[in-house]
Amino acid sequence: MVEITHSTIDVQSIVGTVTNSESGAIDVFIGTTRNNSDGRGVLSLMYEAYEPMALKIMAELEDEARSRWNLHRVVVVHRLGVVEAAEASVVVAVSSAHRKEAFDACRFLIDRLKRDVPIWKKERFVDGSEKWSVSKATNQESTGALK
């Protein structure tokens, strides 16, 4: 299940969604806003997305994870809009019979989400300035980058 939300992500409810009697392992990754970036104080992050495409790619990533590993339940939720320090911007939760699949799939999902899902964050610094968080290196390493 993939989802984009504009409000606080409810981690407890996501854990409830992936919990089931067949599973022995759940891995949950939570990405939170750090109060600093390269040594500069960060007040909050503002996320925007190309929403329909982001949801489409997130669903494709879930499909790919399910084809690689034997997973019971998968939840990927990304928040958009302003996310304050210590709040969650993304949660990935996976349940499976054994822990290896849960860890591997969870890591795969967040790695690929960060590489391929069209979502961008703008950092709002404590000094009042703002900047899109972009690493020119990132995309060139990705499959599908224009060459």
Partner: protein, 81 residues
């Protein structure tokens, strides 16, 4: 032929618009969109190798041929998560 062009993040800031319907020459390919944007704002040059193009919500390669009615998005390096 006509396409819809969508710009995000840095690309939108450089171009100064979010979405535009645009007339482009028949036979255009994905890379031509970046040339058009670069003609309008030379600063696009620094992003040329960093952005990806998505057509109808799917990443395409440089030489992907565009068609009338395509929904074309310029995807700067993503930073979700």
């Amino acid at each position: 032929m006509k396409i819809t062009l969508r710009l995000f993040s840095v690309a939108r800031d450089l171009a100064g618009f979010r979405e535009q319907t645009m007339e482009i020459p028949a036979g255009s390919r994905a890379a031509n969109i970046l040339e058009i944007l670069q003609d309008r704002n030379p600063k696009f040059a620094e992003w040329q190798h960093a952005v990806r193009i998505a057509v109808n919500q799917e990443y395409v390669s440089n030489d992907h041929p565009l068609h009338d009615g395509d929904d074309v998005a310029v995807i700067p390096p993503v930073s979700g998560g």
